[in-house]
Symmetry: C2
Subunit: 387 residues, 2 copies
């Protein structure tokens, strides 16, 4: 008999897997070109020639041994300099730990911070894996409702959600799935709210989409607004390397229990079984330095899909970042709606997986041709609800 908790949670999560499997069945039956898969946040942009060159150069150097569990000092120093410049707070090599992606980063952060029963506030709509990450360290996830017009958390809901047990808040900025960018005004408001509490509350930003922003939007520096800020970053989305698992944690010296926290992060990186971030990707990032690929193509796709859906009358927030649309489903039951979409060969994810039933998520990190080909299917799907 395996773990009872894992057995139950795995069965609960199998709805989405069934959707993926249905997608595979559809592709086999109708051909890949006739299935419009908006279900997965897997960047379709190829990696750049610069990245491949840096990766090959690293491979030729042949350094694949253990390093400090926190990562190579020179890479951590480079990132610390960047975070210090961005935030205006003191960030040094000690405050940066290289991780197995943002998922690894969030797990070592939560494990480092939380006693069993501590509460972690998460903002709707939220990435559902946050629930698992909280469970992993026996913390309690406390979801906070948002204003459905702009997906910003309701201040009243945040105030209500705070308790003496609140240890941390996770902010996914830009937000997956809504595409909202939490702006400086929101950070100021939250900082004011937290300053009235007796205990320090750590504010964790999960920022893999920080470089994927539109219309001159910028993601405010978390560390600038929150002394107890903790950045979790991943290059998965910005460099199109989600299968490689490379990211980092960064904290400033202003953070509560700074020395203990830095040591705890390294300890947890090792003891949770990550050990260290993959060596060759650390070396590759050091070689890439400040290089940033051109990500403006995602804006064209956003505009295309957003115009298509709103043109059909869908109720949809226009994202300022990330590569997802999160419209209301055309019937109240988002899962039934996702099934109807699948019948039109459109794959999308029900909003209940993000804590918001009545919505669906479409990932537009797909070729524009897919969006064009899907046009008629979206028309047919919409027609179903006009009768």
């Amino acid at each position: 008999m395996i773990s009872q908790a894992v057995l139950e949670k795995n069965r609960g999560s199998s709805m989405i897997r069934q959707m993926f499997e249905q997608g595979q069945v559809l592709r086999n039956k109708y051909g890949a070109d006739n299935v419009y898969d908006f279900s997965l946040g897997n960047p379709d942009l190829p990696v750049s020639a610069q990245l491949t060159a840096a990766l090959i150069a690293s491979a030729q150097e042949g350094r694949h041994g253990y390093m400090n569990n926190a990562g190579y000092p020179e890479l951590r120093a480079m990132i610390a300099g960047r975070e210090q410049q961005r935030s205006g707070r003191p960030v040094t090599e000690q405050g940066v730990v290289m991780t197995v992606g943002a998922a690894g980063a969030l797990n070592i952060i939560l494990k480092s911070l939380c006693n069993p029963g501590d509460e972690v506030m998460i903002l709707k709509p939220y990435f559902s894996e946050y629930l698992r990450y909280c469970e992993n360290c026996a913390a309690t996830a406390v979801p906070v409702d948002c204003d459905p017009d702009n997906f910003l958390p309701l201040t009243s809901a945040m105030e209500q959600a705070l308790s003496p047990k609140t240890k941390a808040i996770i902010i996914n900025n830009p937000n997956n799935p809504a595409g909202v960018v939490y702006d400086a005004a929101f950070y100021e408001q939250l900082a004011a709210l937290l300053s009235r509490l007796k205990q320090p509350v750590y504010v964790i930003s999960d920022e893999p989409y920080a470089q994927i922003v539109y219309d001159r939007t910028t993601v405010p520096s978390l560390l600038r607004y929150f002394p107890n800020g903790i950045v979790a970053y991943s290059w998965s989305k910005s460099l199109s390397i989600p299968g490689e698992r490379i990211g980092y944690v960064a904290v400033s010296e202003d953070c509560a229990d700074y020395e203990d926290l830095c040591q705890a992060l390294v300890f947890c990186n090792r003891s949770l079984g990550f050990v260290n971030a993959p060596a060759i990707w650390q070396q590759t990032l050091l070689k890439l330095g400040d290089y940033q690929p051109d990500l403006t193509i995602y804006q064209q796709r956003r505009d295309l899909l957003y115009s298509l859906l709103t043109g059909l009358g869908w109720d949809c927030y226009k994202p300022e970042g990330a590569f997802y649309l999160f419209p209301r489903s055309l019937e109240a039951d988002d899962q039934a709606f996702a099934q109807a979409a699948a019948e039109e060969h459109i794959l999308l994810v029900p909003g209940r997986g993000f804590g918001m039933p009545g919505y669906v998520r479409l990932a537009y990190c797909v070729d524009e041709a897919v969006i064009h080909r899907a046009e008629k299917a979206f028309h047919r799907l919409t027609e179903r609800y006009r009768s």
Copy 2:
């Protein structure tokens, strides 16, 4: 205030870190050539030209996206074929999950299996991280004493350690730190013991050193002897790539709760934050196929260091595998002995870190020149205890 448990455990583990830091101080003071570092299991063998070529070819292909959380099907099928041939049991792609090293493998296995309070037997001397991995899923590690002459577990101790709560046993084969290879006779004896129990007990082999064996020793196939066997493997040691984090879990179709276990492993790979094993290393391993580098050089080093120490009168088991010696310390207090060794510029790890005070571990994955240079220091250290 960060997590109380992490704070305490991190402080407890800082003895070894202090040793490493002392090593750095020594190197800075006396020069790297005059410090003899036997503390870390970081293979010094360079990676082979074949591996680098396969890695570069993979980099040129530019595939870095998400795959199934279990890994690429073709790689899993290749490994399944190998495990089936080795064990004679049915092993398919479904029974293989690619992991972030053996540490990742062990964590997803234990999380998949254990309810809080379940017991996991570990065999002295044990890799101390097993204690952390058990804590991660709220399981209780139950250490079992060994015969100090051959480091094989005492049958009486194993019988005593079994309880209705026993969920699993971890066998590190070849063993770090003792270098003992648990042989077929031991596996048969253990299988007989387990067959008398009412509940299935999963037998987990942690096998990163399986290819590093001497004098025609072979590591018996775990899956052959145990229907409920679970293999955790890593290429860290055999390919000299411990910084890259790539390994796998393998189970046969004969395993209790096979379907549930396979799904749970994939679920835990994702939900614990590993997500998947690094893509480029999966591709590289697929290209390498059955390639195995020549590892016989470790035998020369074993012979050299073993002769040196036993020639000085140290009481030391002659390892059949891995790249560690685990002699008795020359005074009862292994930590004081490690300090005395450090004063002679020899870095080694006290046995209490492996559940066996009174011993020390020396890793001989170092250049032979280091062993030769250390000769006089070992003489001086030994002399200290002759007066």
